[in-house]
Amino acid sequence: MSDLDRLDHRFTPERLALKEAGAEFTRREIAPHLQQWEDDGILPRELHKAAAAQGLLAVGYPEEAGGEGGDLLDVCALQEGFMAEGASGGLIASLFTHGISLPHMIAHGSAYLVDTFVRPTLAGELIGSLAVTEPGGGSDVAGITTRAELIRGDDGDSHYLINGSKTFITSGVRADFVTTAVRTGGPGHGGVSLIVVPTDSPGFSVTRKLDKMGWHASDTAELAYVDVRVPVKNLVGEVDKGFYYIAECFVSERIALALMGYGHAFRALELAAAYTKERETFGKPLAANQVVRAKLVEMRRRAEVARIYTLDVAARHVAGEDVIAEACLAKQTAVEAAVDVTNDAVQLFGGTGYMHGSEVERHYRDARLLPIGGGATEVLTDLAARLLGYAS
C-alpha cells in the first residue's frame, strides 16, 4: 500500500511513521502467534502490555487522560499498519476494545474514573469492555432493559443496583471492567445511563463465552448482572445521558469498522494477487486468465474506493463536521468491499482457500461480521435516511 500512501495527502510523514509502527509491531509481536491465539479463542494480556509499551494503545487519546494525543486519522494510519500485515478482525477488536469502552469516560467522566480505569487501560494494565447489546435488543440501543436502580444511603454510601443481561460483548470474558449501558430512567433514548462495573463485583458473571464464525482471537461474552452493587461515582457523566454519549462515539466506531473492512480487503487482495501469479492451472498461471485479472482489478477498485471515502469522512470528522450519516455510508461501502473482496480471494484460492489456517479464509470469516456488528447495515441505512432528510 506504499504507492497509495504517497498519493494520499492525509497521511503526513508522522502518520506514515505510525502506520509503519503498527505494521512493524504486527510483524514482530503478532504474526508469529496469531494462528495460536485464533485457535485459543483469546488474546494474552501480555500483548496489551507490549502494545502499550510501544505507545500503540494510547494513540488518538488525549494526553491529560494518559493518551499519546492524536486524532482519528492517526488511529486510521495505525490500524492500516496492523491490517496490512495480516492482523485479524478479532485481534484488532480485542486489543483495541478500549476504543469503545473508554471514550465516554474520557469525554464526560470524573477524574476518579479517568485515573481508575482510563489510565491503567491505556497503559495495558487493565482490559475494559463496552456492554450495550442485549439478548432481545441487537442494534436497538434505545430499547435497553438492563436496569440500574439508585439506592440512596447515608453520606457517600449511595449505589446503583444493576440487574439484567448483555450479549456479544467484545473482550467480555477477560474484562476487568465493563462500561455498561443501563436504564436509569423511563423508556427510550432519554432513560439510558453508562455505569462502569468492575467485573469482580458480586453478582456480575460471565455466563458464556460465545462461539463465533470468525473473530476467533476475540473473546465474546454473554454477561449477567444480578443485584450488582456499584458505587454512584462509577456513573459516567450525568444520569440519563448515556444514549447521547454512546451516539457521540458512533462516528469513530463506524470509521474503525470501515477501516477494518478495507484493511481485510487490501490484505486479501494482496494475498490473492500473489497466489494467482504463482498458481498454475491448465499449464499457465491463474493470472494469465483475463477474468482473473479483471477480478483482481475489481477487488482493488472496491478496496480503494472504500479507503478513500472512509479517510475522507474521518478527515471531515476531525475537522469538526457532523458526519454521522456519512460514517454510516462509509461503513457500508467498506464492509461490503470487505465481504466481497475476501469472498473473491477465497474463490481465487480454490480448495486451498477453504482450508482452516489459510489466511484468506480467516479474512473471509472475519469480514462477515462487519455488516452486522456496530450497527447492522439495514439499521444504519435507516438512520442515514433520517439524517439526510429522506424520511417522511
Binding site: 492451472t281 473471509y364 439495514e378
Partner: protein, 384 residues
C-alpha cells in the same frame, strides 16, 4: 410452485429417509462436527435400510432402481437438517455411477454387496495438490508392471481434498497410465484399504463441512492388481467427463434444497425476532429481501427438477449441468448470506444453523468444478 417429479413411491422413500435421519443423524451431528468425522456405524445403519444401494442391481443386494429422484431425496433431506458431514452422496451419486457403468462382473461380485450394506465406504480421488479443476494436469501415475509375477499397476503420487478420505475403504483414483498421452493417458484404478504403500494424511481442517472427513491420500509404490482397473485403460478422462454432470447435479440438488431450508428458517426467525418494537418481518426491506430470494429459489428448483428428469432419461447435457452448477450454487451463497444478515448478531454465532450453513456453503462454488470452470464449459458449448 408444486414440484411435479415425484410419485407416491418417492414420497414414501422420503418419509423413510426423514425418519432415519431424525433418529440416527439429528441427535449426533454436532458431536460428529467436533470429531471431524461420521462413524462407520451410520453407514451400516443406512445400508441396512437400503439407503446406500438402492441403485445397485438386486442380485448384489441392491434395490435395482436407477432413478436419480431417490438420490435427490436423500441429499435434500440431509441438506434440510444441515447434515453436511454425512458423505453419502460421494457413494450413492458419484462412485455408484462409475461402478455401475464400468465395473466388470468379477468386480461387481467383489464390491457391490458391501457397497450396498455400507460395510464398504467409497470415495473418488481426482484433485491433486498441484491440480484442482485442471484434471489433465494430474501427476499421479499407475505404471503397468508385467515382469514381476501377476501383472499389476505401480501407483505413485498423491491426491488431496478427498471427501470420505479417512473413512473410505475403496477409492477410485484417477491416474496417468501413460504420461505422454495427455487426456488419453488417464485411467481409473481402484485402491483398497490395506494395500501396502497406500497412506492417508491427516483429516483436513476446513472452514465448514466440519463432520465430513476430508483427507490427503499418498501412494508410494502401491501394487494394485490389474483386476482393479475400472473400465478400459486410457478411458479415464472420458469416464470422468461422462459422470461429471451427475456429480454437478448433486451439487445443484443440494443448492436448491439449501436455499429452501435457509429461507424457511429465516421466515420463521424474522416473524419472531423483534427490533425497534416490532418483528423484523414488519420492515419492508425484510419482505423485499425474502421475496427476491424466494423467487430465485423457486426458479432454481424448477431447473434442478428438470435436470433430474433429463439425467434419468440419459439426456442431461454437460453444459446444462455446468450452467445449473454455477448458477444454483452462487444463488445458494447469495441466499445464505442474505438470510444470515437478517439474523443479525445471532447469525454470526456458531450455534445458529445459519452460521453453519454460511461456512458449509462456501465450498459449493469451488468443488465439483469452480464457477469459473463451469462458465468456461458453457462458453465452449456455445461455440465460443
Amino acid at each position: 410452485m408444486q414440484r411435479t417429479i415425484f410419485d407416491a413411491d418417492h414420497d414414501a422413500f422420503r418419509d423413510t429417509v426423514r425418519a432415519f435421519l431424525d433418529k440416527h443423524v439429528v441427535p449426533h451431528h454436532e458431536e460428529w462436527e467436533k470429531a471431524g468425522i461420521v462413524p462407520r456405524e451410520l453407514w451400516e445403519e443406512a445400508g441396512a435400510l437400503g439407503l446406500l444401494g438402492f441403485m445397485m442391481p438386486e442380485e448384489y443386494g441392491g434395490g435395482g432402481v436407477q432413478d436419480f429422484r431417490y438420490n435427490a431425496i436423500l441429499q435434500e433431506e440431509l441438506t434440510k437438517i444441515g447434515a453436511s458431514g454425512v458423505g453419502f452422496a460421494l457413494h450413492t451419486d458419484l462412485v455408484s455411477g462409475y461402478l455401475l457403468s464400468y465395473a466388470n462382473d468379477e468386480q461387481k461380485a467383489r464390491w457391490f454387496p458391501t457397497f450396498c450394506t455400507g460395510e464398504m465406504i467409497t470415495a473418488i480421488a481426482m484433485t491433486e495438490p498441484g491440480a484442482g479443476s485442471d484434471l489433465q494436469g494430474m501427476t499421479t501415475t499407475a505404471k503397468l508392471v508385467t515382469n514381476d509375477g501377476d501383472p499389476y499397476y505401480l501407483v505413485n503420487g498423491s491426491k488431496t481434498f478427498i471427501s470420505n478420505g479417512i473413512n473410505a475403504d475403496l477409492v477410485v483414483v484417477a491416474c496417468k497410465t501413460d504420461t505422454e498421452a495427455g487426456a488419453q493417458g488417464i485411467s481409473l484404478v481402484v485402491l483398497e484399504r490395506g494395500m501396502e504403500g497406500f497412506e492417508r494424511g491427516r483429516n483436513l481442517d476446513k472452514i465448514g463441512l466440519k463432520a465430513q472427513d476430508t483427507a490427503e491420500l499418498f501412494f508410494d509404490n502401491v501394487k494394485v492388481p490389474v483386476a482393479n482397473l475400472l473400465g478400459d485403460e486410457g478411458k479415464g478422462f472420458i469416464y470422468l467427463m461422462e459422470k461429471l454432470p451427475q456429480e454437478r447435479l448433486t451439487l445443484c440438488v443440494v443448492a436448491a434444497a439449501a436455499c429452501r431450508s435457509v429461507i424457511d428458517q429465516t421466515v420463521a426467525y424474522v416473524q419472531e425476532r423483534k427490533a425497534f418494537g416490532k418483528p423484523i418481518s414488519a420492515f419492508q426491506n425484510t419482505r423485499f429481501t425474502l421475496a427476491e430470494l424466494e423467487t430465485e429459489a423457486r426458479i432454481a428448483q424448477v431447473w434442478v427438477d428438470r435436470c433430474i428428469t433429463e439425467l434419468n432419461a440419459g439426456t442431461l447435457s454437460i453444459d446444462d449441468a455446468a450452467a445449473g452448477k454455477w448458477w444454483t450454487t452462487e444463488l445458494q451463497k447469495k441466499t445464505v448470506d442474505a438470510c444470515l444478515q437478517l439474523h443479525g448478531g445471532y447469525g454470526y454465532m456458531s450455534e445458529y444453523p445459519i452460521a453453519k450453513a454460511y461456512l458449509d456453503t462456501r465450498i459449493q462454488t469451488i468443488y465439483g468444478g469452480t464457477t469459473e470452470i463451469m462458465k468456461e464449459i458453457v462458453g465452449r458449448m456455445m461455440g465460443l
